[in-house]
Subunit: 399 residues, 3 copies
């Protein structure tokens, strides 16, 4: 399921751009958007790092800097995709739509196995964040404007099934881990077994992701057409906001920026967590995961408030699928190349697994009738809050 950040684009919404902007015009345009000013957090983070400031400050400022950078990255990807035509463009959106999460994950992987729990927490956090927080908030806000909103059940149902399939892939290594866990921990052989299983499952998930792209971009494009038709179109073919060169340059710089900030974020996360009195897993699931999704979040809510529910569901559910079936496998494969003594497996904490199961289950219940109202948003958010409380109460030693 191709997932981009369509519609983050307030300029085409005005319907007035006659041609794609070059770099200067693009920067002038960004200058006028309040969110872009957050980019100033980037130099601030660099200064704080240079001054050897408290880790908590570095953590917070670098996190702040990632939000607009991830947004710009998504926007550049989307613009680039549009200049490349439906086929390759769709593929580009589908692979780089969650690039920020991917970069944060890679930076954390690099630091070695001690960071694996954080990487995994940010994966599960991204999945439940997209389903419960992003979709819940969008449905709630949309529901405040419209008493009843409708969306395509087939596309949403397929999304829920894909997420269920991914959950199954995440549950099995965890089951193996828990069942073989004794007071003495796991044997090296058992750990190796779980690693192999994780790698094979990651391969299957990646293949299924590719096939789902064939389905949504080629053979059954029309099922997802609702989402695309809702995009603002100028004339016969929708005009991209930026031209290809601008898009590429923005993409290059924001990617570098996200990578740099992620390095600071990952380096400071441990002390920041201690300073805030929050456990590792909570930070991963509820802080790191939200940073990379903030842009999708605002777009999904905006679209819901314009009654474009197909697009809303497409962004939120599609992003969750991309994390589960593309980002997670890529991180597993990347960890195999990094040469650490142990590669990233797919065994999660029981609470993370329960959280994913709950999120997918509630999504399936909410998606099945093809309509939403504000109370459904409340219920999704309610599950998110209950899960946040549970993660907050995680005992120090973990479970």
């Amino acid at each position: 399921m191709a997932e981009g950040n369509p519609g983050t684009n307030p300029v085409t919404d005005a319907g007035a751009t006659p041609s794609p902007a070059d770099l200067g015009t693009a920067l002038c345009g960004l200058w006028k958007e309040p969110l872009s000013w957050l980019v100033l957090a980037l130099p601030a983070a660099v200064v704080l790092e240079y001054l050897d400031a408290a880790e908590l400050w570095i953590f917070m400022v670098s996190a702040l800097a990632i939000v607009p950078l991830a947004g710009l990255m998504g926007r550049a990807t989307e613009n680039l995709a549009e200049t490349l035509g439906a086929g390759i463009g769709g593929l580009l959106n589908a692979t780089f739509g969650n690039a920020a999460e991917l970069i944060i994950g890679l930076m954390a992987l690099w630091k070695g196995p001690a960071m694996y729990p954080l990487v995994k927490a940010s994966i599960t956090g991204s999945i439940i964040g997209n389903i419960l927080l992003v979709l819940g908030m969008a449905i709630l806000v949309g529901g405040l404007y419209y008493p009843r909103q409708v969306f395509n059940r087939t596309a949403a149902g397929m999304g829920a099934t894909l997420l269920a399939l991914a959950s199954i892939g995440l549950i099995l290594p965890t089951l193996y881990y828990r069942l073989q866990h004794t007071a003495a921990g796991l044997s090296a052989e058992a750990l190796h077994n779980i690693e192999s299983l994780s790698e094979e499952i990651a391969a299957i998930l990646a293949v299924i992701y590719l096939l789902s792209l064939v389905f949504s971009l080629r053979t059954h494009r029309h099922l997802f057409a609702g989402a695309e038709e809702e995009l603002p179109a100028t004339g016969e073919h929708r005009q991209p906001e930026w031209n290809r060169r601008t898009s590429l340059i923005v993409l290059l710089f924001t990617t570098a920026g996200v990578a740099w900030m992620s390095r600071l974020l990952v380096g400071s996360v441990e002390h920041a967590g201690q300073a805030l009195g929050l456990n590792h897993v909570f930070i991963g699931v509820f802080v790191v995961a939200i940073i990379g999704n903030a842009a999708e979040h605002s777009t999904a809510v905006l679209m819901a408030s314009k009654n474009k529910m197909d697009l809303t569901v497409h962004i939120a559910v599609g992003s969750g699928i991309q994390i589960a079936l593309f980002v997670a496998p890529v991180l597993v494969f990347a960890s195999m190349l990094l040469g650490h003594p142990q590669s990233l497996d797919l065994h999660f904490t029981p609470l993370e697994i329960m959280a994913v199961i709950f999120a997918v289950g509630v999504l399936a219940l909410v998606a099945q009738d093809g309509e939403t109202h504000w109370m459904e948003g409340i219920m999704l958010l309610g599950v998110y809050v209950i899960l946040a409380l549970a993660f907050y109460h995680l005992p120090g030693g973990g479970l």
Copy 2:
């Protein structure tokens, strides 16, 4: 979701009452209904208690007395609600609709932490009893009269989602308990942690319950209108059966009666269980929980036999929601005020948790197509019987 006992009222069904009855007329009316005679079990229980009879007898007779008292209480609440108009009346129904279960729970709480397992068993028993036994029996009986019955999918789907959300709230403290459980039991710190988590979850559930009332009583009243329109209406506005004064007096006396009988019931439950060879949890889930629901049970079955399936689903599912999202949180808060060394938490036995998950899952499957036939009733009842067998075989020490 407002849940009352609409339609327990056989007199308005006849459509002949010109004005609400005063106390004398009301008592004469009750005199003619066979069920009311069960109220005689109340003085019988008092006599048995005075004579220091076997606990088993006291248990059975007081349980018998609660059935008609709970029924009258629901009816008085409903009549009172009608004299108060839709807004406050709906709220009254929504808060006192399961008052009998609440009173039994409070009486048990009062006796101290040793009774907590029974209180919790009666909560889960009420949830699964409403979903599996009450709804299953109603669908089966309705299905014997009509080959196919239909109901509003949206309202039923929302009910299933609310119950799923509540289940999540009940599962998490249990997960914490099980994962931290060692041969030496739980540390005081861990227990305190679970108590805090339970209290926070109870608060969230209560807030979501309030919002669901706003949804069903105000913003999306029409979705639940099917259930109300099916009620017999005399003239322009439905006439209550009793006048306000009669309703208040009946409510006062039946509440006192239920409280008194609950005290006897709770005092005798332990010995009665031993005498019957039944474990604590079984008694809570399958005996105590049924007593308080008997009136809803008969109403739901009656409505199904009249092909009023919206009302049937409304009573059964709504009652389950009320227990899970209102009665359970209120009991948690009440236990905090009672000054026991330990307050009521939301950690349940694994079997109770599985039972709730199964019940909600099967409900979601049955509710999703918006139609019922007798085999669906059989399947709900089949799950109930399988669960009863499982609870019956619980080993002495519990699991």
Copy 3:
């Protein structure tokens, strides 16, 4: 739900048989079908056994022989059913439709309690095989011909609910087993308790199966009519392929053949597993279970390629239901009669239980919209492959 092998019959598909074939004509007809030649594996297996060949060879050849024998058995049952009229015929199909699985199970039971894990693995393997492999492959192949195929949601939804109910019956004894499991194993009393619970659950499942036959064959026959109308009909009443005498003789000989081959299969399975480096449970779930289902498998795929999706769903889901609600209870009862020190209980390995839950959950998601496309087939098959990987990685000692 009556489940036979309707449509395995390539002759009536041609629509040219004027009257049911006698034995000679039937054998001539079979002679022309390539699959029938596989029957030659039967004498081959006997010869290998006589020559005391490697167990692995005996295992493989006897497995190969069961495939066509099970297919012929199903075909003979179906023909016999047609000569007996709808009522008794439906019952015959419903009880003997999975006779091959039943015979393999009985042969394994006979060898004693050491074979119980294999019997249970073949039960769960048959359930997930029908839902994930057979249905998944059929939906995929059908989807390659038709972009969108539809089926009756009510019948499929009821099938999913029945399977959910059966899963609950399989989960509870397993839960009891796991919760009471200590380093010292289970006490004799606990084992006996689980046996009693299993037997009672088996009885409930069997009763529900009978009632589901009343539903699908009598009171709500029309819901399943889609499946039957799709069968090729010649003239007013569909002509059976073979006459009654031929059917009976074929049934007799194939039953004897399946029994004989099952004995060889069961006798060689342990050494074959060791030789292949596969664990016991994997063999049961993915090898033994597939052998008995191969005929259904090809029929379901054939029907999907002809856009007869009601029939496809009927065969795959119906076969799963028959295994869970009829074959499993019958095997439990049979084990009680065999006089072994311990009878077959319904406690499974955690992985088997998870596999069944996943399969039923994904089926419910796929069935709920009443339409299929190739990606749904991929998703079902994806879950099957992920499960196969997980079972393959089962540690030697089991979990």
